[in-house]
Symmetry: C2
Subunit: 457 residues, 2 copies
């Protein structure tokens, strides 16, 4: 197995995974069940289906089936932008003068610009298959909304996106990509839903929040015949779809006989990280191999490194099911100065359990050093990374520099989840030297932990 390793390792189309991997099946300690917000009892598929598509509700609760077939229609769509390249970062290695071998799996090679499309197309497919007319969702910065618009256009499904008003106004380009794909984009809070009207009346001139947009999208889904609500992160179904990332990565490494030592991913809601690491964690759970796995989160939104492992609401509106997760409390709001994404208050219940079981570790990093790493990477590797992805770059560089000190030839693999094309306002701040760091104080956290539900005793 001593083939020369190319810059980009592409799998052939027939080497693409035909099944997603459900890591929960191999976990001895399963993620705690999600709870019905009304009864506070484990939720059932039947209770989920008024909001979610049936097949997705089943996937959400399935913690025993290890492999789930990827329907042919989804495989066909995947072929338009997958397999994504696993790139050997020869130029970055040279720049750092490190003996480490660095690899990154790039998910930005599609118009939505990120990995979000992997789950969007799956969710749109199941909605179409169920005979629905359309789906509703919320979007903040717009990555998820863009991906879902593309997926719905492909299956000729109506797509209604509630976009946080401040983003709607400040990110017109994202909005226009969605509209070009035929989606209806509504600034939230709107006057189309009861919850939107109520919030507009209570807080005139509000620029909205993700929590409010979720509430509007859920209401819109339940109020319209033939519609369901879809979500782009946090959920176990989303993590399942994202395992296409990790499975391809593993196959590409295997193809060249490369054994990863360290696997690094950025963590917001946890679905891209979970997708990348699942096949590696699976081997650890089955006692077949060992890896160092690092989740990287922003110091300004440190759910893993400073959060509590507790039941919490998934949304600030407190209408969604409760999940046991590492969380800062659903009332946590990152500083307005925070430009690096990954703003979610909690963490995927799967990632949370793996972290609690010490199968993965976590680090928090500050945004100015994240953007510095992004710039270093962009200059030598030619890809302008999304701020989110750059959290992983920062730690990959740190690890490679450690190898320089120790002389170790470690294989470092990280997930490069997307491009920064739509994040230039943040880059401008950095370029102008106006970016500041922010770490929540203990007091801030005590305040946001107070928003945790009583169920935690």
């Amino acid at each position: 197995m001593n083939k020369e390793i190319p810059y980009k390792i592409y799998l052939e189309e027939n080497e693409m995974p035909k099944q997603w991997y459900n890591v929960r099946a191999d976990m001895k300690n399963k993620p705690a069940p999600i709870l019905n917000p009304a009864t506070r009892k484990p939720i059932t598929v039947e209770e989920l289906t008024p909001i979610f598509c049936e097949e997705l509700a089943r996937q959400e609760l399935d913690d025993t089936t290890p492999y789930i077939d990827i329907p042919q229609e989804i495989q066909d769509f995947y072929r338009m932008y997958r397999p994504s390249p696993l790139t050997r970062a020869y130029c970055l290695e040279k720049k750092l003068d490190t003996p480490a071998h660095i690899y990154y799996k790039f998910e930005g090679n599609n118009t939505s610009g990120s990995h979000k499309l992997n789950s969007a197309i799956a969710q749109a497919y199941y909605a179409k298959k169920q005979g629905l007319k359309g789906v509703t969702t919320e979007t903040g910065a717009g990555q998820w909304g863009t991906a879902l618009s593309m997926a719905c256009a492909y299956f000729d499904l109506d797509c209604q996106v509630y976009m946080v008003k401040v983003s709607y106004e400040q990110k017109p380009f994202r909005r226009e990509v969605m509209r070009t794909y035929g989606a209806t984009v509504t600034p939230s809070p709107s006057m189309l839903t009861n919850v939107g009207k109520k919030i507009n009346a209570e807080f005139p001139g509000t620029t909205g929040s993700l929590g409010c947009a979720i509430s509007e999208a859920v209401e819109a889904a339940t109020a319209q015949e033939g519609y369901r609500y879809v979500l782009g992160s946090v959920l176990s179904q989303v993590l399942l779809h994202q395992t296409i990332i990790g499975l391809e990565t593993k196959s590409a490494l295997d193809k060249y006989g490369i054994k990863a030592d360290v696997v690094i991913g950025c963590a917001g809601g946890g679905s891209n990280l979970g997708g990348l690491i699942s096949p590696f964690v699976g081997e650890m759970l089955r006692g077949e191999a060992d890896y160092e796995i690092i989740a990287v989160e922003p110091a300004s939104c440190p759910s893993l490194t400073r959060g509590k492992y507790a039941y919490d609401f998934c949304d600030t509106g407190k209408i969604c099911p409760l999940a046991k997760m590492y969380t800062l409390g659903s009332g946590f709001i990152p500083s307005a100065n925070h430009a690096g994404g990954l703003r979610y208050h909690g963490m995927s219940s799967i990632i949370s359990q793996l972290y609690d079981d010490k199968l993965i570790s976590a680090r928090s990093v500050e945004q100015t050093e994240v953007f510095k790493a992004a710039q270093t990477f962009a200059k030598v590797e030619g890809i302008l990374p999304a701020p989110e992805s750059s959290h992983a770059i920062k730690v990959a560089i740190d690890e490679a520099l450690k190898c320089k000190e120790t002389g170790e030839e470690k294989n470092i693999v990280f997930g490069l989840t997307g491009t920064g094309y739509f994040d230039m306002v943040a880059y401008q701040k950095y370029n102008d030297g106006e970016m500041v760091d922010y770490i929540p104080t203990e007091e801030d956290l005590i305040k946001s932990f107070a928003t945790l539900p009583q169920i935690n005793g």
Copy 2:
């Protein structure tokens, strides 16, 4: 040769071209020599070197060497984003219900978002090799400036970009990408050059033009020790570097035993088109094969379909050499309503000669139908195309629909030069139904033809 054709045909790294192809060597009727603007006589390498890098000046005038080695350093950089995929547009074919087989070569898979990087890295390399400190250039919308910034960052070369003021202000994201790569971006006209000062004094509050930015960049290059001027289109050296597109396309088709029937590219200055078609035209020139080759230009800037074949200035400032080309006159300015790119008044002298020799044909299309084709393509193929590239999409769709009528199974190949991420203002206009078409009147053209130099007798 009956392999199943995958969605994306990737070449292996070792199948990548190691030489560019200089189509001029095979042309019986060579492009007319470019002229020194002072003497109006054919310009020499020596006369070009105060402005251009030496090796690039040599490439500019070399019409006899058929293959030119790609230096290893450039090959290494190419490997970071090349080979680019040749994609079988299965989904578009299905949508159009056509028996035609449609293939597109996608050049947008890099951070600059277009094919411009293919020449930017070559030009930066030769500048570095010559021991220069840096290069200057102009940019309009910003594609070329972005590509050059990336290339200069890689070789640690100073990069000074004069950006048309109106774009500098209206396209802050493009500007910030360049700054992130370490380039200095100056709105033009500036107060840094004599020509800039003069224009600012004459036209207070002017928002600039490409012609003015070229003049500033050329002045800045000659005024600074160790600097040269570089340009991203029109020149024969640029077309040469872009042949990497056509060579890869040809190899990928050959690999699967596919014979192209129609080859389509959009045409602004002509370098991407020339790069795509050169290997095909070469076979025609050598009598080895026959292809239908179509250049597509905007109806609002119709240099091939309505221009004159005459000597003209390459810049509106009239300080650059004169080239014989199809041109509308250097005084031609497309309507402000024109959002589809490809605004250059002339056409590569190589493309012009091939067109005059009837080796290639040309069509002009209006922008609303171009954006309609772009949207159709985006919805089924998942890539949001640049307006420029969408000119080729429009004609590829037209050709595929003709095949539907005739039942012909033609192989249609087109160049998809870039993504539309930074063109959402134009898409918004289209989405809002506010885009209008514009075709210059005969009177408009008579006026702009009057700006042609006297040399044409």
